[in-house]
């Protein structure tokens, strides 16, 4: 392979495009974490440590923004705060990534829109995540012959069938009757210089000053919900797996498990999302049982 010619215009354009991706939070450096880094035989025992202060903001469309730099105080969520959170987010997952039960409920009552503030535990339905057609990773397939009994596990993995799609588990999108602002920040303030400069690419800067009748520059946002982990939290995702190899995910830790797995789906094990190696090792194991 030849060294890229740094004077080449194509080369420069590639770098420009990559810079834009970098501004959007896409990792510019991937670390290869081969299986031996996390011994396979402890796949089900591995633990995830969620960094202190990590918050996950979930949109009504199932998109998610993850940040450890945003100091969420648990107060009413406003469009300005949403915008700030997006700017400060280190990881972003697209629409459809988070199941409906973790999304804001779409209703926007007269009282301030709710936000969980970190202990919602809003899910006790023990969601059985259905089937998917995800292919096994390379190393996963190595143990194809480890396959007998517990057939369901070969097909039931963490990935829900509706991941990556907006359909599936229900539609939380606004129905127009909620009275909620449907989109768009009407704020043009609250951008501290760090957030806006550091992260760049907020996509909702509509900046209209007329939104809402509250008289405030920063109206409530009902399209987002924030989950925070106040202190460093360690847990074993394997405890969410029942005897049949199905995932029963609930509460904030369930959400974190989903997000970590989803990030792994997008970027493989070559990223720095906390816990992604653990998630992938578990899924690799389950894929081959």
């Amino acid at each position: 392979m030849n060294e890229p010619n740094e004077k080449d215009s194509v080369f420069l354009e590639k770098r420009r495009q990559l810079l834009k991706l970098g501004a959007a939070g896409v990792p510019m450096l991937l670390t290869m974490k081969a299986s031996a880094a996390q011994p396979l035989h402890s796949a089900l025992d591995c633990a995830i440590t969620i960094p202190s202060g990590m918050c996950i903001m979930v949109g009504s469309d199932g998109a998610a923004w993850i940040s450890t730099r945003y100091n969420y105080d648990g107060s009413k969520l406003t469009n300005g705060k949403v915008k700030q959170f997006k700017s400060a987010s280190e990881y972003v997952l697209p629409a459809g990534s988070v199941p409906a039960r973790y999304r804001p409920d779409g209703n926007c009552p007269t009282d301030p829109c709710s936000s969980s503030g970190g202990s919602s535990g809003d899910d006790d339905e023990g969601g059985h995540w259905g089937h998917h057609s995800q292919q096994e990773s390379g190393f996963a397939a190595l143990f194809d012959r480890l396959t007998l009994t517990r057939t369901a596990q070969a097909d039931d993995t963490l990935y829900a069938s509706d991941w990556g799609h907006s359909g599936g588990e229900g539609d939380d999108s606004d129905d127009g009757s909620s009275g909620c602002p449907t989109s768009g920040g009407d704020d043009d303030d609250n951008h501290d210089s760090y957030s806006s400069n550091h992260w760049g690419s907020s996509d909702d800067n509509h900046d209209d000053d007329e939104g809402g009748s509250s008289g405030s520059n920063d109206t409530s946002s009902c399209d987002y919900k924030i989950y925070c982990f106040d202190s460093s939290t360690q847990f074993q995702p394997g405890t969410f797996i029942d005897a049949n190899g199905n995932w029963n995910l609930s509460g904030d830790l369930g959400l974190y498990t989903i997000v970590a797995a989803k990030y792994g789906e997008y970027y493989g094990t070559y990223n720095n999302f906390p816990g992604v190696s653990c998630m992938l090792s578990i899924m690799t194991y389950l894929n081959n049982q």
């Binding site: 096994e136 190595l142 396959t147």
Partner: protein
């Protein structure tokens, strides 16, 4: 060294029970212990031409005990499980599936205990021009393509592992039987011949499983590494139009390394050999809907890159 089939069945059975049977295959000596008729029959059929020793005290790289998961399962609803000498969360198998436990255990032992080579999950075949590594997701068609290429003048290095040298990218043979599932069993039986195939294990949760035996000349050449020239990522899907798409070398490496159980443990030596490997191969995604198309695609690529 004598071949396994050169010993009498009784001697092999006794050595297997004692745990002194050692298969000498490629770079590895694998000590086996089991008390299973199904496993004994499978060994003699599929590994008969392999070099083997039966006496005690032979140095082995790995030790594998195929046994009941506990005392109860020795007698009641008898089960069997591979024990490679370290804990691994395997699911016990019905006893008639001992051959599967053997193959699984041999994979585990090499994948998780070998540190003399960098191990990657891939099938490998070679001819005098060089080697083709075939890396695939489960169901992608790796083993079927590997078996098919054996009929096209390539020798089998391995169906399961690309065994790469440290600091150099040569691929080392480990010619064990090719593992086939479901429809692939009959496809390969049709072109390889029924006499080259194992008894098919039916009723497994993943369907039918059968093995295609490594051939004598492949065992004779089991100490001759081959230099890699082509890295393929086959993706079989029914009725797919055949096409080959070049894969960027960086992407190819990322995918390939995802199938390594020991790359990280080997440090810079594995890095060096992997980078040399990446420099020496052209990488392609192969899309196809039947074996004939896959062979045609590989032949075209081999004309271009196998020199």
């Amino acid at each position: 060294m004598r071949r396994l089939e050169d010993y009498g069945r009784r001697a092999v059975r006794q050595a297997l029970r004692r745990g002194t049977l050692v298969l000498h295959l490629g770079p590895f000596a694998m000590q086996l212990k089991a008390d299973s008729r199904a496993l004994l029959a499978f060994l003699l059929s599929m590994y008969g031409a392999c070099h083997a020793t039966l006496e005690a005290g032979v140095l082995a790289d790995f030790s594998l005990h195929v046994r009941a998961p506990n005392m109860i399962r020795r007698f009641v609803r008898r089960q069997i499980t591979p024990d490679p000498g370290f804990y691994f969360p395997t699911v016990p198998l019905p006893r008639p599936m001992a051959p599967l436990a053997l193959e699984m255990g041999m994979n585990l032992a090499v994948a998780l205990q070998c540190f003399r080579f960098a191990i990657y999950h891939a099938g490998v075949v070679a001819d005098e021009r060089g080697a083709i590594a075939i890396s695939a997701f489960s169901g992608g068609g790796k083993s079927t393509l590997t078996a098919a290429l054996m009929e096209e003048g390539f020798r089998l290095l391995s169906d399961e592992f690309a065994i790469m040298g440290l600091d150099e990218p040569g691929l080392y043979p480990y010619p064990r039987p090719v593992s086939l599932k479901n429809a692939s069993v009959e496809i390969v039986r049709a072109f390889a011949g029924a006499e080259e195939m194992s008894t098919t294990l039916t009723g497994t949760p993943k369907g039918d499983i059968g093995y295609r035996r490594a051939r004598p000349h492949e065992l004779e050449m089991m100490h001759e590494p081959a230099m890699p020239k082509l890295l393929l990522f086959p993706q079989f899907s029914l009725d797919a139009e055949p096409r080959a798409e070049k894969v960027e070398p960086g992407d190819a490496v990322m995918r390939f390394i995802a199938g390594s159980p020991n790359y990280h443990a080997l440090g810079e030596a594995a890095f060096g050999s992997l980078m040399a490997f990446a420099d020496s191969v052209a990488a392609y995604d192969l899309h196809y809907g039947n074996t004939a198309d896959s062979i045609a695609l590989v032949k075209d690529l081999w004309r271009e890159h196998g020199s």
